[in-house]
């Protein structure tokens, strides 16, 4: 187990990057504590897999260093970094039994059979594989195979970190739920550093203590799931996290305050005086119907079971609301109120003003 430090890390797949688009990964500095659960979250092509491959050693970064505890491992190959990885598509050794699969990393390291047996038995119990130990690995379902992949990482006690690369992609939806909570449970049990890469916000947010949100090769925000939800530093985070995402409404700025269609909107932050173009960001959870507020027309109400998603048109822009099941929803026109503590001003995408400057 180890603390992971990424220092001035940058990567480009081109030999001589010139433009900013040439960088698959823009400069980043990170420190990950020993035993934490982390997630890299972002849409496809955001650089999260590049970053993962740099950590695992499959890719050597163009600039910067990867440090495990005090040791610089930037140039070390994967096998010398003592990491384990679970891939998108399950990797098992088809011809071996489940037992032999789990024993494989230990036997490769010349560990005696007695220790192998006790470790494998212990891990099989943790990953619910005990009943299948004698079966051929090729006969298992996708979720069983993913458990084997994970188990091969867990059996070793020299592992610095376990990396997950979209591990639930090929798992049936109704089993995803089980495997997801299993992973969380395992992390709490063995307290190993785990890094989880995904495009799925639910997986990232429920698994990780800290999430790194990435977009076009750049880290947009690092924070706890609560921070990402409550105070997005960038409209991208607001949009990408939460379902539906944050409402982003272009507004006018006068004396640092935001105005929407002439009405003043109370926000937590103030815009600097020189800013002209700005947006208001407010999550659908924090927009409510009220007696006084901004006029809006109700366009559509979608029943999502435990809540309703209400689409409205407000000052020529689409504003979504999340309304609990059973709460009354007006028809036709209504007035909207934005919760002042959760309404913020963004400019050029970034949160502005005190506490919000990049």
């Amino acid at each position: 187990m180890a603390k992971i430090t990424l220092s001035h890390l940058k990567h480009s797949y081109y030999p001589n990057p010139t433009k900013s688009e040439d960088w698959a990964l823009k400069e980043l500095n990170l420190e990950w504590d020993d035993g934490g659960a982390y997630a890299l979250l972002g849409p496809s092509g955001c650089g999260k897999t590049t970053l993962l491959n740099i950590i695992s050693g499959l890719l050597i970064p163009s600039h910067g260093n990867v440090i495990f505890d005090e040791e610089d491992v930037t140039d070390l190959p994967p096998e010398e970094r003592h990491i384990a990885q679970v891939f998108q598509f399950p990797v098992v050794y088809d011809t071996m039994t489940v037992y032999d699969n789990l024993a494989f990393p230990l036997r490769n390291r010349g560990i005696d059979e007695e220790t192998v047996k006790s470790r494998v038995t212990e891990i099989a119990e943790m990953t619910d594989l005990t009943a299948m130990l004698d079966r051929r690995a090729s006969g298992l379902t996708a979720d069983g195979k993913q458990k084997i992949s994970l188990g091969r990482g867990l059996v070793r006690n020299d592992v610095n970190a376990i990396l997950f690369d979209e591990p639930l992609t090929v798992i049936d939806p109704h089993l995803k739920f089980q495997l997801r909570s299993k992973l969380k449970e395992l992390h709490q049990r063995i307290q190993n550093t785990m890094i989880y890469v995904t495009h799925d916000q639910t997986e990232a947010l429920t698994f990780a203590d800290k999430v790194v949100v990435m977009n076009v090769g750049e880290v947009v925000q690092i924070g706890t799931p609560e921070e990402l939800f409550e105070t997005p530093q960038h409209t991208f985070v607001g949009h990408f996290i939460g379902s539906p995402g944050m409402n982003v409404l272009p507004c006018e700025i006068k004396n640092g305050a935001a105005f929407l269609n002439g009405s003043k909107i109370t926000t937590t932050n103030k815009a600097p005086k020189d800013i002209k173009k700005a947006e208001i960001g407010v999550r659908p959870e924090y927009v409510t119907f009220s007696d006084k507020g901004i006029d809006a027309d109700i366009v559509k109400v979608s029943d999502a079971g435990r809540f309703n998603i209400v689409d409205t048109m407000c000052a020529g822009q689409s504003v979504k609301l999340l309304v609990q099941e059973g709460a009354s929803i007006p028809t036709g026109s209504a007035k909207l109120a934005f919760a002042p503590n959760s309404t913020r001003i963004y400019s050029d995408g970034w949160l502005v003003g005190e506490g919000g400057a990049k």
Binding site: L205, P225, E227, E230, G242, S243, G245, G305
Partner: protein, 356 residues
């Protein structure tokens, strides 16, 4: 109108569909909801005519079409994989179904143009599928399915391979797109939330059985059976054995609550969806459930708490952040006024749509 009358599909000794009876109205949006291997794809292939039923009949607009080849029916399909012709441009891809019938080039252009606009891919008409994102590829496939005015459009988990946010975006647009057409839509999905957002009618499928069929919201709030409720719950619905005796419903010696008088005495299975089991008492009817927390998943806006109580696994889904340690003793509150009662055969016994 498409009718399936006692349609059975067997492959070898295995039965894939057990006597399905479904009536799909013209212009309706019909969701086939169920897990993988529940029979959604088989049912769609039977509807399209790609497969022939082992027994039973399929009628379309008063005509028996059982066994009629798919080419002779006016059907379109969209699959989970993005299936497009790789060597054709997006325009040619969308136009391809029109090329079979002799339509003037002007009309082809107009219809492809309209379709592309509806699917928001007008700017990509000259590109090849490989130059598009996953979402755009699937939009192209859908545009192709809809361009020829089919009587029946079947979509088999079309959003499953898309990124989370793209899925959300298309989910938002699809009902609007289909609203304007008078064709029958069949849409297979594994996700209850997707079914709810689309509305329309839902057929709940479980291991080859159609366990429920009706307006989506009604099926969700008043499932006819335990199986239907299980198919239509994400996270899984909490279940427990209870006994009704006199005016009490008894879960065990410590936990009981007031019963509805109309319910006969006897043993029942209750079903309570995860969002009616909360870490705080928010409803006067909620009963306390003491358990041991397995794991708490906190997403920042919601908390999902998995816990064991009285020999069952329970899930609680609540707003906000409610941290719990694994192994911690905790009390959670189940709003039993929102619970379903199922008799020993699994039949729903609630008289009114109380639960959800």
């Amino acid at each position: 109108m498409l009718e399936l009358k006692q349609v059975v599909k067997k492959v070898g000794a295995e039965t894939h569909i057990y006597s399905a009876n479904l009536t799909l109205e013209p212009g309706s949006f019909n969701i086939l909801l169920g897990t993988t291997l529940a029979g959604k794809t088989t049912l769609m292939q039977l509807m399209a005519g790609l497969e022939k039923p082992t027994s039973g009949e399929i009628w379309f607009n008063g005509e028996n079409v059982t066994g009629m080849a798919v080419q002779k029916r006016n059907v379109s399909m969209v699959y989970q994989q993005f299936i497009n012709y790789p060597n054709m441009t997006v325009f040619e891809n969308i136009a391809s179904p029109l090329r079979v019938s002799r339509i003037s080039e002007d009309l082809v252009k107009k219809r492809v143009g309209d379709m592309a606009e509806l699917m928001k891919i007008s700017a990509m008409l000259d590109r090849h599928p490989s130059e598009l994102s996953g979402g755009q590829q699937q939009r192209t496939a859908m545009a192709r399915a809809m361009v020829k005015d089919s009587d029946l459009i079947l979509l088999d988990e079309p959003l499953a391979n898309l990124d989370f946010k793209l899925r959300e975006e298309l989910r938002d647009e699809l009902p609007r797109i289909f609203n304007e057409r008078n064709c029958i839509v069949g849409y297979a999905t594994t996700e209850p939330t997707e079914a709810l957002l689309f509305g329309g009618r839902t057929a709940a499928l479980h291991e080859g059985h159609v366990v429920d069929f009706g307006p989506t919201g009604e099926i969700y709030r008043h499932p006819s059976s335990l199986l239907s409720a299980q198919v239509f719950s994400e996270p899984p619905i909490n279940t427990a054995q209870v006994t009704k005796s006199g005016d009490r419903i008894i879960l065990n010696e410590k936990v009981s609550w007031k019963a509805d008088k109309a319910l006969p005495d006897g043993k029942y299975t209750i079903g309570i969806r995860a969002h009616h089991v909360l870490p705080k008492k928010e409803n006067k009817d909620a009963v306390a459930i003491d358990g041991t927390v397995q794991v708490a998943e906190l997403s920042g806006s919601e908390s999902m708490i998995h816990f064991d109580a009285y020999g069952e696994s329970w899930v609680s889904l609540s707003h906000g952040v409610h941290p719990f340690e694994s192994g911690q003793e905790a009390t959670l509150y189940a709003d039993v006024s929102r619970s379903f009662y199922f008799d020993q055969s699994g039949k729903m016994m609630n008289l009114k749509a109380g639960g959800a």
